[in-house]
Amino acid sequence: MDGRTGRDEPDAGRGTPAVVVDVDGLDRMIRGLARAGYRVVGPVARDGAVVLDDVDGVADLPAGVGDEQDAGRYRLTGVAGGALFAHTVGPHSARRFLSPPRRTLWSAARDGDGFTVDGPAADDPPVALVGVRGCDLAAIAVQDRVRQRSPHPDPACASARARAFVVAVDCARPASTCFCTSTGTGPAAGPGHDLALTELTDAHGHRFVVRVGSDRGAAALAGVPWRPATAADLDAAARVVGDAAGRITRRLDPARARDVLAAAPEHPHWDDVARRCLSCANCTLVCPTCFCTAVEDVTDLAGGHASRVERWDSCFTLDHSYLHGGAVRGSTRSRYRQWLTHKLSTWWDQFGETGCVGCGRCIAWCPAGIDLVAEVAAIAGAPGESGP
């Protein structure tokens, strides 16, 4: 690539001129993050899906891999042009790395007639997330606000979040399940990134328009060849995002959904959903904003050592609402209602915003093809029933 090689870091902050790097530049950036001590995580095509896993360089990214998604359906497809980010969102999200599915909070060891307590383990290396979409970037911020609601935020998660490096990517090929234009979270990557990329694969070459969101982002471009973005680059990038937005047809009004669900706890449509819902918890496990966890004691066989292990939990399990030998939410109807009403309605009461970022994962990964957008519409629309 011609132009400067980034000895000079582009200045950080809003209004900073965007720069352009090529595929090799992205590779250098990823390797540079690893050298700086980050565990670099990005999209990887594996087991029939694009999942998030460790990447050493661009060779690990899913070049030419796209996806088709619909209610209850997710398939990988080939995409011409070799784009690295032609896919949308798979089953994993940043949540997997910022509040892992299973981790030890603290542990205890027998000591005479008592025990000693070991505090939180030392911090893991910081994570650098490459390829984070606008919806997932918003989800990271939603999870931040959830964590801040705690009177005693988890120190390990707060630390992991504070040290995380985020390379966002604008969406070019939204899935049919996407509705980020409704939630205001995409297809362009919003604030909260260190770097944000728009991938271009036109006649002018495979390249990335890079917006710098932080000083750390600027620093990560040191050692990466870049040139200032031209007007043509910026136009091409804007077209990619504009075309993507135009292809998103699914609509959900978050403010209206809040009111509709707040008024509908006894709506007959919950029974209809309950007949289809398998209570499998898939939606909660793929959701990038779901935060429920459970903590269990794991003891060694000799009984001398016990660990308090936190794992992801789901409001679809009976254990979740366990109280004195029974579950408060014993029926699938009540558990689905809890999930959807929490996500779209009571989340506003708790955190001042919707809990949905429009990623559509819960639609695609529901084995019964339950579509929350359609369920809200059904509850809102039935005349003469409790929807407004």
Binding site: L105, D113, P151, D154, V295, H320, R329
Partner: protein, 290 residues
Amino acid sequence: MAERVATATAGSPTRALAGRTFPARYRVATRRAETPDVVTLDLEPLDDPIPPPRPGQFVMLYPFGTGEAAISVSGLGDGGTLQHTIRAVGATTRALCALGRGAVVGVRGPFGSDWGVGSPDLDGLDVVVVAGGLGIAPLRPAVHALLGRPRSGRLSVLVGARSPADLCFADELGRWRRRADLHVAVTVDAAAPGWDGSVGLVTDLLAAAPFDPRRTVALVCGPEVMMRLAARGLEAAGVAPERIRCSLERNMHCAVVRCGHCQLGPLFVCADGPVLPWATVAPLLAVREL
């Protein structure tokens, strides 16, 4: 290797988290059987004590290797001593009830809202305490606090129990009954030979309690069905639902608004509660399986 709490130096980050994110250790100083399945433990701190709980708040108790349970504070002693009155109903509470004198238990807390009895707002108001079953446990420190300073309002303590043998703090109730500044009434669901007290529902005791409903705050704790009846009875007597404070129970699993288990509609009961005005919770409890 993480730093050991026991050897943590003052001011270290690990120490700052003790008692909240992971437990401070306490030793069982005394263990007293209240009823056949209810035990009161007096715990004295081995590590730095947790901040003093306010009446109505709860802590998470951890018997080694079993798990944590949310347990209300039933009394506060000198030197950071905590009292907890526990019924053995599950694995963790059975382990807690089985702890003997000298055993070590982990404590995180205190968590949640309190009865508000420390507030000068209550001066001049009548206070009616309605306790059903083990609901007396979190109310006991509230009564202690109300009796512990001069107030102009009247105080009534109404207690319902399953049977005379299931009555917790029976000796203390007897002492309270002899006080002139306190109206105490006790009723049981099922009498036993020799019981010449009241037999019936705790709400029956409202009729004879001295309070001016327009100037009354009610503190209610017990099984949810009992609290609904008590709130209904208090409302019928003219007490405003905003002035009826009840202590809710949900699955308080982490106690710090992380795990999501204790949600009741928009509420996180571990932090917004457990003590909440009836006006807030009545519409939520009216929705089945919420």
